[in-house]
């Protein structure tokens, strides 16, 4: 199966939001990270994690489903020799930073198992994840909670959070990437 165009994808994301509302829940993924902390015993260290994580188990099922969906899509719903077809200008910019021509879904040089032995790469992955987890909870939500659910509910706070997402993303891409890579 070929990748889906933006208009199919955007409509289906709105459908997911509707399904979650219809199920009596709100669409927000990063809350799971807090739940995982509590399950690992973080409630002993900070009151922020003192809640009954079982009330959030529905969202953990959603998380496991997301992983399962990724597995199914990558293994059974994709054409052979699949590569994400990004624009020529992006390919040019990335090659100037030392990335090889796109291959697959994400660069294997950074996310593939063969790249797990490189210290610099591990630091990049760990720092990226650290900022995603810290920032999502500080901002009270991630892309699903703010950019989709929050803006759909016309929340100024969510709009500001998305402005922040872009300030950070642009800073990383245009200022820090040339220093890192």
């Amino acid at each position: 199966m070929q990748p889906w165009p933006w208009y199919v994808s955007g409509a289906l994301i709105a459908l997911i939001m509707f399904i979650m509302l219809f199920f009596g829940k709100s669409f927000g993924f990063s809350s799971n990270l807090r739940t995982l902390c509590t399950m690992c015993g973080a409630d002993k260290y900070a009151p922020f994690f003192q809640f009954d994580w079982k009330t959030q188990s529905w969202n953990l099922f959603f998380l496991v489903g997301a992983g399962l969906g990724g597995y199914l899509a990558a293994n059974f719903l994709t054409v052979d020799d699949y590569t994400v077809a990004i624009s020529e200008s992006t390919i040019t910019d990335l090659s100037a930073l030392g990335f090889s021509t796109p291959e697959g879904f994400v660069p294997a040089s950074q996310f593939g198992s063969e790249a797990m032995g490189e210290t610099k790469n591990i630091i990049i992955l760990a720092l990226g994840g650290l900022m995603v987890g810290f920032g999502a909870r500080y901002a009270g939500g991630c892309t699903s909670g703010h950019a989709i659910s929050g803006i759909s509910n016309l929340q100024p706070a969510s709009l500001l959070a998305v402005v922040g997402f872009f300030i950070g993303g642009l800073l990383m891409t245009h200022v820090l990437f040339p220093l890192i890579y």
Binding site: L68, V84, F105
Partner: protein
């Protein structure tokens, strides 16, 4: 098992994130370089449909499947919380090429590196919980 429906919704979400390529590091780079409409189209259309959806649910007082009121919790306004927190999130989004949902989608798709990203994201949330009272909100 009442949670199975969330597993199915999550699976659908995972497939959408992969097939839309919204979980692709390449697409996130393209987005932050403004070199294609793709990601803007996806998020823009989701919001363009989401705004009237929420408005109709509120106006018609549409109930959820169990007959309960669908509630929307307003988010308390604050500048530092959303601006600083959002900026830190954005730095991580661009560096790892994935927001929280797509991190898990990529693990499912078989990219081992995202397992490190996930563990670090859980740890980042833990750090926030420890420092919460010292941060401007």
């Amino acid at each position: 098992m009442k949670n199975i429906k969330f597993l199915i919704a999550g699976t659908l979400f995972g497939i959408i994130m992969f097939k839309s390529e919204a979980a692709s590091w390449y697409r996130i780079q393209e987005m932050f370089r403004f070199q294609a409409f793709h990601m803007y189209g996806i998020i823009g259309l989701a919001v363009a449909l989401g705004v009237p959806m929420v408005a109709i649910i509120k106006a018609k007082k549409i109930k959820d499947f169990a007959g309960g009121q669908i509630v929307f919790t307003p988010k308390a306004w604050s500048i530092p919380r959303y601006l600083i927190g959002g900026t830190i999130f954005g730095l991580g989004w661009a560096l790892s090429g994935a927001c929280p949902g797509p991190i898990v989608v990529n693990i499912g798709a078989g990219y081992a590196g995202y397992f490190i990203v996930l563990i670090a994201a859980v740890f980042g949330t833990f750090l926030y919980g420890l420092l919460k009272d010292k941060l401007p909100h």
